[in-house]
């Protein structure tokens, strides 16, 4: 194998580990996996072997010195691995090296050729490419001649290397050394350390690649997880601020809230903080986001640290929102854990894994404030930052709820300095006015979108969530029954005012009619007078004509 090409690697099939090592463990070489009791060494090795046999067509031999093959089979059966079938198919062979110190006595020089022969026949029987030795250190408790043993173990490793076996060797952690028997001396290619630490009564499993000759690898400690899905390593790192930006909008599931934003709804891939005091409706708003995403044919993932899935389904039902149907159709996944169940790092890791697996377009964390009890401020902030970075990097919209302990005046800050990390901030208030608490919603911030500056009254009923503009009167914005009161008062005033106008109009009309009648009477009088006048003038002109005619007659008679 030339140095220029780098060494070739065999994938282990362990989530995350292959990414971390850029391919897996070195092919044809031994890898040492060390760690204290119960930290997952055997599971690591088993997973390596099973994936090899099942997915990469590399049969494997499991040499067990401690556990019986039957135990191993049933142990991994709970993780969904059908090891039995692989054994039946001759993909995996067990070689159980049962050793009993009490029936063994040493008398002179010996070697471990028997082990070699057994291993060889097992390898040849199934054409193995992978070998697991779990835990070879057990030999030290059986054979007392350490010099022979060490020489034989070295020979065994060399022999496996010569045969081109990709080998995983497990070893117990020693005091101050990686392994109790110093096996790391013999394995120079790849050494992996598993660790299991308890801090504040919360345990975290971590994995570190101590050495990996001839290749680049991540050097940090990475949390890993053993659960019903097996062994997964979770490379958690800050991705930086180079995530994609989306122009399209997503609905909050509350039409009134969407309308408060110019353009309707929030930007996809933004992080939205919903904060409020206890009972202000945070979880309902968050669940409504999730339901909107599901209704739009996308997938949503809810991490709940307070409510169980059933409880949430029931509670949302009271708002007329059926999230149960989405859970059934696998559009919505609900992950409910107590904050104290894992360490912060682990929570992050679990989140990342679930997001990667489920591939949702929206993630809800309800609430993030619960973490403040399980770690210090800086750690939480760094965790949330990485969480946000991760989600943003994947174009996933994130909805965080945050429990505020007080809502006095302008001091609406969040415990972990969350606000600056968020693109949008929905503030839910619960204010007492006139003997009743009313919920209010305010859009404190929405990056890159013009939005309403109004405080809306937030009403939850069996018809869903509604936002009602508050009554804006002389005495400020009013909500609840004060608003209703004021609204009906103004409605009454309006009715009265309308009536007044109508009456005034009618009065005027009457007046106009009266005036008109009077005017008509006067006109008639005038007309009569005019007729009179005309008669007089006519008489007058007739008289004058007669007089003139008479004068002419008289003059004519005088002349003649």
């Amino acid at each position: 194998m030339s140095k220029h090409q780098g060494i070739s690697k065999s994938p282990t099939g362990i989530d995350g580990f292959d990414d971390l090592t850029l391919g897996g463990v070195p092919t044809g070489r031994p890898t040492l996996v060390c760690g204290s009791a119960g930290c997952g060494k055997t599971l690591f090795a088993t997973t390596f072997l099973i994936h090899g046999a099942r997915d990469f067509d590399e049969p494997g031999v499991f040499v067990t010195f401690e556990e019986r093959p039957g135990d191993i089979v049933s142990n991994v059966a709970s993780l969904g691995f059908a090891l039995n079938k692989l054994v039946d198919d001759q993909k995996i062979a067990f070689e159980y090296i049962a050793l009993d110190r009490s029936e063994l006595e040493e008398a002179g020089d010996y070697d471990l050729e028997g082990l070699f022969l057994r291993l060889e026949s097992a390898i040849d029987a199934i054409g193995a490419k992978r070998v697991v030795l779990d835990t070879i250190e057990s030999l030290f408790s059986v054979f007392s001649n350490e010099a022979i043993l060490r020489a034989e173990i070295r020979r065994l490793f060399d022999w496996l290397k010569d045969k081109g076996m990709t080998t995983v060797i497990t070893a117990e952690r020693g005091d101050g050394t990686l392994t109790r028997q110093g096996l790391e001396e013999y394995v120079s290619d790849c050494v992996i350390l598993l660790d299991h630490r308890v801090q504040n009564q919360i345990s975290t499993r971590r994995l570190r690649i101590v050495k990996y000759r001839g290749t680049a690898h991540g050097t940090n400690e990475y949390p890993f997880l053993i659960d019903q899905d097996g062994f997964s390593v979770l490379p958690v790192s800050t991705l930086g601020l180079n995530h994609k930006v989306f122009e399209d909008r997503i609905s909050s599931g509350i039409p009134d809230l969407d309308n408060m934003l110019a353009g309707g709804g929030f930007h996809r891939g933004s992080s939205i903080l919903v904060s409020g005091v206890a009972g202000s409706g945070k979880s309902s708003v968050a669940a409504s986001f999730a339901e909107a995403a599901c209704a739009a044919g996308e997938r949503a993932l809810i991490f709940s640290f307070e409510e169980s899935a059933d409880q949430s389904v029931r509670n949302m039902k009271s708002l007329g929102i059926d999230i149960g149907q989405w859970i059934k159709s696998d559009k919505l996944r609900f992950v409910a854990t107590r904050p104290t169940f894992y360490s912060l790092e682990m929570h992050l890791a679990v989140l990342l894994r679930e997001v990667t697996r489920f591939n949702p377009s929206l993630v809800v964390l309800d609430p993030v404030s619960c973490f403040t009890e399980s770690g210090d401020r800086l750690e939480i902030q760094s965790m949330l930052l990485r969480m946000i970075d991760f989600l943003k990097g994947h174009g996933v919209t994130a909805v965080f709820t945050h429990l505020m302990h007080s809502q006095d005046g302008q001091r609406v800050e969040t415990d972990a300095g969350l606000s600056s990390l968020m693109d949008a901030w929905i503030l839910l208030l619960n204010r007492e006015v006139g003997g009743e608490f009313n919920r209010e919603l305010y859009l404190l911030k929405a990056r890159g979108t013009a939005h309403s500056n109004q405080v809306r009254e937030f009403i939850m009923s069996h018809e869903g969530i509604k936002l009602v503009p508050p009554y804006l009167g002389e005495s400020g914005a009013l909500t609840g029954s004060a608003r209703k009161n004021e609204e009906s008062k103004s409605r009454r005033a309006e009715v009265r005012r309308r009536a007044d106008i109508l009456r005034a109009q009618q009065q005027l009309e009457q007046k106009r009619r009266r005036a008109k009648a009077q005017m008509e009477a006067l006109q008639a009088e005038l007309d009569a007078d005019e007729i009179e006048l005309k008669a007089i003038t006519d008489d007058e002109s007739e008289y004058l004509r007669q007089a003139a005619a008479d004068k002419v007659d008289i003059e004519r008679s005088r002349k003649s």
Binding site: L99, E103, G108, D109, Y110, E113, G114
Partner: protein
């Protein structure tokens, strides 16, 4: 009493195996005449037997009877230890 069987597992003609065979034959002849019958099994010829009898170290001498089962590993150069483990003095 019929001679009891001893099984000696070896792997090929290695110096250790040869030494073990020679040592065992010598001890049986000198100290336990007629008590034991030795069968040498070469695992290189029949590797499956290593698994069946759970042999790890070579050479291994197995005394199945009388119970408890005894396994003696090494080239059997320590005569005293061999004799102790084959039960000289206690059962004979």
């Amino acid at each position: 009493m019929a001679p009891r069987k001893l099984f000696l597992y070896v792997a090929g003609q290695t110096p250790k195996s040869l030494a073990a065979i020679a040592n065992l034959e010598r001890i049986c002849a000198e100290h336990l005449p007629g008590q034991y019958e030795v069968e040498v099994i070469d695992l290189r010829k029949n590797p499956k037997l290593a698994r069946e009898h759970s042999i790890v170290a070579i050479p291994t001498l197995v005394r199945e009877l009388p119970v408890p089962l005894r396994k003696l590993i090494g080239d059997l150069s320590d005569t005293h230890k061999v004799l102790v483990n084959l039960g000289i003095g206690s059962s004979a």
